[in-house]
C-alpha cells in the first residue's frame, strides 16, 4: 500500500451542494499559480478522466501589506508565498502510522451537530475556498 496523503478543501457551505468540498491525493497536484494579489489557485488532475482542464481550488487570502514608499515594500511577506509554503508542508506531511488525511482548509461553519469540521480548520491565511471541477 502506498502511503499517500489526501488533501481536503471545503468552502463555507454545508457539504450539501456541488463543489462544497473536495479531496485530492497529493500526487494529483499539478501546480499552483497566483491569480491576483489576493488569490492563489491550486490545480489537480481532473476527475472526468480526460486528463485535460485541471480541477482548481481557488484560495483567497489577505492582500499584500501596505507599503509606505514604493521600492521598499514588504513583499517578502506576500501571503501567497505563505499559503504555498504551508500547502507544500501539508502535502508532504504524510508519515507512517497516520491516516494521512490533511485539511488544507475547511470553512464549514454551520453544519448540523456532529458534522462539524473534520479536524483542524486548516490554513489560517485562507478566507474563502472556491472549487472548480471537471
Amino acid at each position: 500500500m502506498r502511503a499517500e496523503n489526501y488533501l481536503y478543501f471545503a468552502n463555507a457551505g454545508d457539504n450539501d451542494t456541488d463543489k462544497d468540498a473536495a479531496m485530492y491525493p497529493a500526487s494529483n497536484f499539478r501546480g499552483a499559480v497566483t491569480m491576483s494579489s489576493t488569490e492563489v489557485e491550486f490545480f489537480f488532475d481532473p476527475l472526468d478522466g480526460t486528463g485535460t482542464t485541471a480541477n482548481g481550488v481557488l484560495l483567497t487570502h489577505a492582500d499584500i501589506a501596505a507599503n509606505a514608499v514604493d521600492g521598499a515594500s514588504p513583499y517578502g511577506n506576500d501571503v501567497h508565498y505563505t499559503v504555498m509554503e504551508k500547502f507544500a508542508q501539508l502535502a508532504s506531511a504524510n508519515r507512517n502510522n497516520t491516516n494521512n488525511f490533511t485539511v488544507v482548509k475547511d470553512l464549514n461553519g454551520s453544519l448540523p451537530t456532529n458534522e462539524g469540521a473534520i479536524s483542524a480548520s486548516g490554513l489560517t491565511e485562507v478566507t474563502t475556498v472556491a472549487i472548480t471541477t471537471h
Binding site: 491576483s36 521600492g71 515594500s73 507544500a88
Partner: protein
C-alpha cells in the same frame, strides 16, 4: 515525498517610458524590466500609473488629483488637486481606466474622466504588483526538462497544469554560457530534503531584486512564465 519548486517573476517592479512626442500611446516598456511584451496585457497587474510632467504642458482631467502616500496594494490619494501647470509635478491616474496591451499603455486624454493628455517629454511610470501568473509552484514530478535555447536563455519545462499537449515553460535570461549553473540550481532544488519534501524557492524576483537558490552565479536577470494557456491562460 517530493519537493515543490517556487518561482516568482520580477514583481513588483516599476518601469518608466519617456514620451518622444505628444501622443496618448506610450512607448513600449523595456523587456529587461517587465519581461516579454507579447501577451503582457494584464492591466490589473498594474497597481498604479504616474505621469511626471516635463514642462507643465500636459493636461490632467479635473479629477486627477492623486497624491501618493502608498502604491500597493491600493493607491491612496489625497483630496488635494494638483497644479497642472508646474513642471515636474507627478499626477496619479487610475490604471483600470486605461488600456494596456503588449507592454504598451494607451492613456485617456484629459477630456475623459481620469485621463491625462500627455506632452513630449512627459515620463509615464507604471508599478506592477503581484498578480495573475506572477508566482508559480510546481511539484518536482512535473519537471520535464531544461533546454538551452541560446547562450543567454534557458527554458525550464513542466507538465502543463491544464494537461493538454503544450508544456508550461519558465524562461530565464542570464549571463552567457551559464546553462549548466541553471541545471545545477534546478537539480539542487529537486533533490534537497530527500526525506522530507518542502517548497524550495528557486527564483524570486520580488521588488526587482533577484534571489535564487544557492547564490547561484548564473546571474539570472529575468524570468518569464508561459503556461499552456498563454498569458492569463490560467484565469478561470
Amino acid at each position: 515525498m517530493e519537493n515543490y519548486l517556487y518561482f516568482r517573476k520580477n514583481r513588483p517592479i516599476s518601469a518608466s517610458v519617456t514620451l518622444g512626442s505628444a501622443t496618448q500611446t506610450c512607448p513600449a516598456f523595456a523587456v529587461a524590466d517587465i519581461g516579454a511584451l507579447a501577451g503582457n496585457d494584464n492591466i490589473n497587474e498594474i497597481a498604479a500609473i504616474s505621469i511626471t510632467s516635463l514642462d507643465g504642458d500636459g493636461t490632467a482631467h479635473a479629477n486627477v488629483q492623486f497624491v501618493r502616500s502608498q502604491i500597493v496594494p491600493t493607491l491612496v490619494s489625497s483630496s488635494v488637486a494638483l497644479n497642472d501647470s508646474t513642471a515636474g509635478h507627478v499626477h496619479w491616474i487610475v490604471p483600470g481606466d486605461q488600456v494596456y496591451a503588449n507592454g504598451i499603455l494607451v492613456l485617456d486624454g484629459h477630456g475623459t474622466t481620469g485621463g491625462y493628455t500627455l506632452d513630449t517629454g512627459d515620463i509615464v511610470t507604471a508599478y506592477w504588483k503581484t498578480g495573475l501568473e506572477t508566482a508559480v509552484m510546481y511539484p518536482v514530478s512535473a519537471l520535464k526538462g531544461i533546454n538551452a535555447t541560446n547562450d543567454t536563455t534557458t527554458t525550464v519545462h513542466f507538465a502543463s497544469i491544464l494537461g493538454d499537449n503544450t508544456d508550461d515553460v519558465i524562461t530565464f535570461t542570464h549571463t552567457a554560457g551559464e546553462f549548466d549553473k541553471i541545471c545545477k540550481m534546478i537539480n539542487d532544488a529537486c533533490n534537497a530534503h530527500p526525506l522530507d519534501g518542502r517548497m524550495i524557492k528557486v527564483y524570486d524576483g520580488h521588488d526587482g531584486v533577484t534571489r535564487y537558490l544557492n547564490e547561484n552565479d548564473a546571474a539570472i536577470t529575468l524570468m518569464e512564465y508561459a503556461p499552456e494557456g498563454g498569458a492569463a491562460g490560467m484565469a478561470t
